[in-house]
């Protein structure tokens, strides 16, 4: 009985570990594709169009950016953006 329980427990642990590994592989493949196709193509297009997505080398007499963010419409706060 004890051995049987140990066997079931081991089997469950094994399946769980296997499940995690499969998930990791699938995640990796999917994210690899998303990154190198989705992000990659956008990045390439941006580079061709000379569009900057991150201002790594800002210039000017000041680095402050005008923002003027105050109270907005109440419904705007229910948005996540």
């Amino acid at each position: 009985m004890k051995n049987e329980n140990l066997f079931v427990k081991g089997l469950k642990t094994g399946f769980r570990t296997f499940g995690f590994k499969v998930t990791n592989v699938i995640n990796f493949v999917l994210l690899f594709l998303v990154y190198f196709i989705g992000v990659g193509i956008t990045s390439l297009a941006a580079k061709i169009a000379k569009k900057k997505f991150l201002n790594l080398k800002p210039e000017g007499n000041t680095y402050w950016k005008e923002h003027n963010l105050g109270k907005q419409d109440l419904k705007d706060y229910y948005r996540q953006f």
């Binding site: 990154y35 990045s43 680095y63 109270k71």
Partner: protein
């Protein structure tokens, strides 16, 4: 009306609840899960807040979240597009948590709290600004927020009048004073988002010999705006922070077990100097555009107590307010207060003068705990005896665990979950380190002084600002007094003091004044009730285990006195928790 504020998923998850605009309860998740800087959804903090209010999630009128997740995600996508293909590993590691939780905040909240209404989202730096201004004593104030990064902003200048706050200007990612501080923290071998205060503590041991080199890294304008030379950093596309170029310039990254050398101390000193210079310039500019003499600060960098202590003497501001949890945890108060006062237009109705917002335990609950665990204890007759006996034990160089009332809000122990000891003993720093804290030798211990006596011992601002009550200001100790309190005098003669006002915590104040009768010095060592690497204790069990696993001699818990020697020891091995 009940409003719940939530901050989570990056560091220091927390929740806060308001009842009719007043803070009823607030706590960090780490105190419940015992995982330092816990980032997870703060379900324990929320449950505590709801219990304190006596309501369930579906009875909440509003729930607010401390940032706009989609804007943050947009910034992340911009980073990856710009840094393609070098950012792949970060993308691979970060994206699953975005898909699983960070972009699903409303459904997560609704599911976990059974809350049926909409969730409100406030910009991260607005939540920071509100967390300070809306609980400050000011009706008009300039606001500076500085942290690692929110959605896009890393530093903002704001102006507030009555209930309204306007963020006027900002500096955007990747240019971040907070991330510069974190990058150097990482280079010095300490953990990011955790040990920045150690770098601050290390800085007085060094000289800013790398100042000119640092000027290449950060271009600081006269108006306090700045830009980083990103070739020195990797954080915009990698998990690591300093780049190869930084390492070539400043040497290899110190491994945690390597000794701290003069080079490291000089780096810390240079960083602190640059940080202060940047903050003072920003503040002078902020004052010039807002014309307000009152200053509110928030964001992780507002926990830089060394810089804070110099602000009023180095800038035109005449008064300052910082709330005890100035980092991301505090933004949960910010979002809740912003909804109540700014969005709903309700009158401001409180000033946050204390940090006692966390769980407390009744005498009966504590007694039951002691009985259940068969702890040997004695009971004080009354508070007078409690105060007198505790002061006497401290005078006799015992280390005391002090567990009274509601747990503190924010990263500092302020007299509810504190370890107290004799500040006059020249070896007390070593004794405390040996018995309990296992800290690096360079880190000072903090003094707590009765507010009315602070000016006699410290070169502090006049009047003593409220943030001093939250241990957020470092001041010089008067030369003639330094020898009286050697255990809390840092190498540069400064002390990160906490002032305590009698009306805020009469027992704690009483112990200090009673100690004065023995020594003529109204100052104790106050350090957080934990071992290194562990969050501050929350419950009686946490406190008892901490005492039994360390060298704390006595625990004064509510009306009870527990002597370590009288009880079975080694229940808990503190050494294994004594990490970074």
């Amino acid at each position: 009306m009940y409003i719940l504020g939530i901050s989570c998923f990056y560091h220091d998850s927390a929740a806060c609840i308001l009842k009719d605009g007043k803070i009823l309860a607030a706590a960090e998740e780490e105190r419940f899960t015992r995982k330092k800087h816990d980032t997870s959804f703060p379900i324990n903090s929320i449950n505590y807040c709801l219990n304190e209010a006596g309501i369930t999630g579906d009875q909440l009128d509003y729930v607010g979240f401390y940032e706009k997740p989609f804007l943050k995600f947009e910034r992340l996508l911009h980073q990856h597009i710009e840094m393609f293909p070098r950012s792949f590993w970060t993308f691979y590691q970060a994206l699953p948590s975005w898909i699983n939780e960070k972009l699903r905040v409303p459904s997560l909240i609704k599911k976990k709290l059974k809350y049926k209404k909409g969730v409100m989202f406030i910009e991260h730096h607005m939540a920071h600004a509100a967390s300070s201004y809306l609980v400050s004593p000011f009706k008009d104030a300039a606001i500076l927020t500085v942290d690692g990064v929110g959605e896009w902003a890393t530093t903002t200048l704001g102006h507030a009048k009555e209930n309204d706050i306007t963020i006027l200007k900002q500096i955007e990612f990747p240019h971040s004073l907070g991330l510069l501080y974190s990058a150097v923290t990482a280079h010095l071998g300490f953990s990011v988002n955790n040990s920045e205060y150690k770098v601050m503590g290390l800085s007085p041991y060094g000289k800013p010999t790398y100042y000119e080199k640092f000027k290449k890294i950060i271009d600081l304008k006269e108006d306090g705006s700045y830009a980083l030379d990103m070739s020195y950093f990797d954080f915009h596309y990698k998990m690591t922070m300093p780049s190869k170029k930084f390492i070539e310039e400043f040497g290899p990254i110190r491994k945690p077990d390597e000794p701290v050398t003069q080079h490291h101390k000089d780096l810390a000193a240079t960083l602190q100097k640059i940080t202060e210079e940047a903050i003072f310039k920003m503040l002078k500019y902020l004052h010039s555009i807002t014309k307000s003499d009152n200053l509110c600060m928030a964001g992780g960098c507002a926990l830089n107590s060394v810089a804070n202590g110099k602000i009023l003497s180095n800038t035109p501001f005449k008064s300052i307010y910082i709330q005890p949890a100035a980092g991301d945890h505090g933004a949960s108060i910010g979002v809740a207060k912003y909804i109540y006062h700014t969005l709903l237009g309700n009158e401001r109705n409180e000033i946050q003068e204390t940090a006692y917002l966390g769980p407390e335990f009744t005498t009966e609950e504590i007694k039951k705990f002691l009985e259940d665990y068969k702890v040997k204890y004695s009971q004080f007759k009354d508070n007078k005896e409690l105060v007198k006996k505790t002061a006497e034990l401290i005078y006799k160089d015992n280390v005391i665990g002090w567990f009274q009332g509601r747990m503190e809000w924010g990263p500092r122990a302020l007299g509810s979950r504190s370890i107290l000891s004799n500040a006059c003993h020249p070896k007390m720093q070593d004794i405390l380190n040996l018995k309990v804290k296992h800290r690096e030798k360079f880190r000072p211990f903090a003094p707590v002084v009765s507010e009315e006596d602070a000016k006699e011992y410290f070169e502090c601002d006049n009047p003593v600002p409220i943030p001093t009550d939250f241990m957020l200001m470092v001041y010089s100790i008067k030369k003639e007094k330094q020898k009286l309190i050697p255990a809390v005098t840092h190498v540069d003669g400064s002390g990160r003091l906490q002032t305590i006002r009698k009306q805020h915590n009469p027992l704690y104040h009483g112990v200090i004044k009673e100690f004065e009768k023995f020594t003529k010095v109204p100052i104790l060592i106050n350090t957080s009730f934990n071992v290194r690497g562990e969050p501050i204790v929350c419950t009686p069990l946490d406190a008892y285990r901490c005492m039994m696993g360390t060298g704390i001699d006595y625990l004064v818990m509510d009306k009870f006195l527990i002597k370590r020697e009288d009880n079975p020891q080694h229940m808990w091995d503190s050494e294994k928790y004594a990490k970074d």
